[in-house]
Amino acid sequence: MADLSSSFVGIRSPNPFWLASAPPTDKAYNVNRAFEAGWGGVVWKTLGEDPPIVNVSGPRYGALLGTARNLIGFNNIELITDRLLDVNLREIRQVKRDWPDRALAVSLMVPCEERAWKTILPMVEDTGADGIELNFGCPHGMSERGMGSAVGQVPEYVEMVVRWCKENSRLPVIVKLTPNVTNILAPARAAQRGGADAVSLINTVSAIMSVDLDGMTPSPSVGGRGAHGGYCGPAVKPIALRMLGEIARDPECRGVPLSGIGGIATWRDAAEFMALGASNVQVCTAAMVYGFKVVEDMIDGLVNWMDAKGYRSVPEFVGKAVPNFVDWEQLDLNYTVKARIDQSLCIRCGRCHIACEDTSHQAITRERDGKRHFEVIDAECVGCNLCVNVCPVDQCITLESLPVGTPDPRTGQPVRSYANWTSHPNNPAQRAPAATAPVK
């Protein structure tokens, strides 16, 4: 059976599933329950200076729901912990003592002054916690006060604070990045320059969840007015994956351990983050939606998948997809696919036809011999994948690649071997043919 045990910047845990710094990790009661349920580690809810911040007493969450009320995206205007620093530190000490085999990192956010960091770091170290995570990501409330994403958006501040932390503490330093930047590499490289032991990402995405059309206020409405919040959950996973992959393949960041966060709800999500470079993952929304028990599927799902694939430990596949994450210009422009509809699975809903007919390439029939019949017209099909995406039946439409040398009915030309944009004749900046084929 595959071994899930994990060591992240020297912090050991029985599995790579940590709870992200958020309400599930706000107090000993929750964290104890999480550990009982099997979570490998937690990042304690972000601590700040006393006096504690205050949260709104109105609604602090909003959600994007599917028609069947399945939660797709989640938004919050909660701030960092609203409990006294001392209470948190006492509980952290006790929890670490009770659960020595689990990872316990502490998230921190204090003003951008060396004094503030110098004060809090020894207090955290004294609890016996395994590491610290710097919250440079919270995009609401705290950022108005010059903290959270206000720091994460300025690479110089990131580097400076990381340096203070490394100078004033022995604990490993994880830097949690905000996605609310144009180029995620800037803060990631800054963290690296400051001496960070690891980078975690993403924190939440700045967002307005919806507008209450009766009250004419952004939702959730707090007494008739709304502020933007931080968006997370399944909807942000693609954003997180891309930012993660960007750092993972960046030569300057090479070797920095990465902790993947953002929309992870299943073992498969976790495996995807790991394949794209994350050594472990952190979860918030899925736990808030389903409770701590969700970790069970993450654990045995990942083990079963690893067993099926022959991976004995997590590091064996961490980063395996990174070399295949390339810029568009490296894609094989000669690679040719055609959609194939499995008529035995087709339920004849016609969604593929109308999608292709109205909005794409008119490459799917609607009838044959006077009967509803949906079939791909190879001479029109550009292999775009739209039909696959709109078909309600799994595996009913698949893409079949044409081997090199076979004729493509659309172009009338045989399929040629690998060539990308850099050497394409239509490219005004054409370079010499590059022979870099994808890594298999």
Binding site: T67, R69, I347, R348, G350, V393
Partner: protein, 462 residues
């Protein structure tokens, strides 16, 4: 009422069940969807291209569109989509055999053997506007044209409503003292609980331009010739009246009932416990009426109920789902047998004699010679109805009724100029409410075209 008679007492009795059981047995058989159920179910619709369900709906409701509007919270728009094609959409949502219509062609059947619950969703949307008093129709400016609609069943109502919406003035002549036709007097009580038939009538009349005259029977108080003279057009939606005969000796004994009459009494009854109910009941027939009387008489406390049909399950007019429903209610269905005589005891029905049947070489029904008897203190004839041609008075010779029903063309024009017809009284249909509604709509559109040939017409929504 005092203590109820048990179901085990022989003979015809009222009061077989404890009082509270009647209400339960005749409540809504398939309760309404909750808002959350409607949302979840609406999400199952795939919004198919050129959707097969639309083609399978006799009234051509844009089903994917009305379902999507439920999902988006645009319930008024949803009801508008439904009612603009099918004025009796609320009734049809309850009584249509959806398993052979829209739901039968839902592509979800191929995927997961479970269609989208189109009927239930249609009910959800139409109930929504009824419950809130939201009117989706607005009558067009008066055209000055006057049309007589004879018969206030689904066909007549649909025709009258569409004509009125288009701005014409309609007079409905109805023999009974209520509108709704078989919706009010025929359809099984538990399909249309809560007085929905009359609520629908009220909703339709609300649009204005429709005058209703009760107690007016064509062939008695009315004549077709006079109507043709006094109105710009006439629509006949008189349904079927007379009940087929069993074709055997029917001695004058008690215990023999006409299912349609009994159901009409049941539907109008304010005290179900007072209805006469036998202990052993035989129903002869294979259509919806047979299923409905058998199921309802069981629910009124009959101990044994057997439907005897002369052909097999596939030939029954009632769908498989209807047959299953009767069987779930404890009704036994015997196929391939026909009645040969009634047994009596002191002027009361005592049993029914049958002969087994089969198809001969020419696929004709033939007796096998093998016989059996079923004890019965109550017998229902549910073997179909026929058009009462007498009601068409002197004009019957001019109207083509050679097939037994009124012949119409694709626009529901009869052979008599200025006279349209639709519903059960015309030839070629399946005797379904929804088809009557479509007939009425098509006739109204045809009448509208005939009365103002050059102008375009269209329904306006409010």
């Amino acid at each position: 009422m005092a203590s109820a008679d048990s179901t085990k007492t022989s003979g015809i009795r009222a009061n077989r069940l404890p009082e509270e059981v009647y209400a339960r047995n005749f409540a809504d058989a398939h309760p309404a969807l909750t808002p959350n159920q409607a949302l979840v179910e609406s999400d199952r619709c795939l919004f198919c291209y050129d959707a097969p369900c639309v083609q399978a709906c006799p009234t051509g409701i844009d089903i994917p569109s009305f379902i999507r509007k439920i999902a988006t919270g645009n319930i008024k728009g949803s009801a508008q989509d439904i009612l603009s094609e099918n004025a009796c959409g609320a009734l049809c949502a309850r009584v249509c055999p959806t398993e052979v219509l829209c739901e039968g062609s839902c592509v979800r059947n191929l995927q997961e053997h479970k269609p989208v619950a189109i009927g239930a969703l249609q009910r959800y949307a139409t109930d929504w506007v009824f419950d809130r008093g939201v009117q989706v129709f607005q009558r067009a400016a008066d055209t000055g044209r006057r049309i007589a609609v004879v018969g206030g069943g689904p066909a007549g109502l649909s025709c009258a409503h569409r004509l009125a919406t288009l701005g014409h003035s309609v007079t409905v002549f109805e023999a009974h003292d209520k509108l709704g036709g078989l919706n009010e007097y025929g359809v099984a009580a538990y399909k249309v609980a809560g007085g929905i038939a009359q609520r629908e009538v009220d909703y339709l009349l609300e649009v204005g331009g429709i005058e209703v005259r009760f107690g007016q029977r064509l062939g008695k108080e009315l004549s077709l010739a006079a109507l043709r003279r006094d109105f710009d057009a006439v629509f006949l939606g008189i349904g079927l009246g007379a009940v087929n005969a069993l074709g055997i000796d029917e001695p004058a004994i008690d215990g023999v009932y006409d299912a349609i009459d009994y159901i009409a009494d049941l539907r109008q009854s304010q005290a179900l416990a007072t209805l006469p109910v036998g202990r052993s009941v035989v129903v002869i027939g294979g259509g919806m009426t047979a299923i409905d009387i058998a199921t309802q008489i069981r629910r009124l406390g009959a101990e044994d109920v057997t439907i005897v049909y002369r052909r097999g399950p596939e030939q029954m007019g009632a769908s498989t789902k209807e047959q299953d429903w009767a069987q779930t209610n404890g009704v036994r269905i015997k196929h391939w047998a026909r009645p040969t005589g009634l047994l009596s005891d002191g002027g009361h029905l005592a049993g029914v004699a049958f002969e087994y049947t089969r198809l001969d070489d020419q696929q004709r029904l033939a007796g096998t010679g093998e016989r059996f008897e079923l004890p019965a203190d109550m017998l229902f004839k549910a073997i179909g109805q026929v058009l009462v041609r007498d009601s068409l008075d002197g004009q019957v010779g001019l109207l083509d009724t050679a097939s037994g029903r009124i012949a119409v063309d694709a626009e529901r024009r009869t052979s008599l100029p200025g006279v349209w017809a639709g519903g059960d009284c015309v030839a070629g249909g399946r005797d379904l409410t929804v088809e009557a509604v479509q007939d009425g709509k098509l006739a109204a559109l045809s009448i509208d075209r005939a009365l103002r040939p050059a102008q375009a017409s269209g329904v306006r929504h409010g």
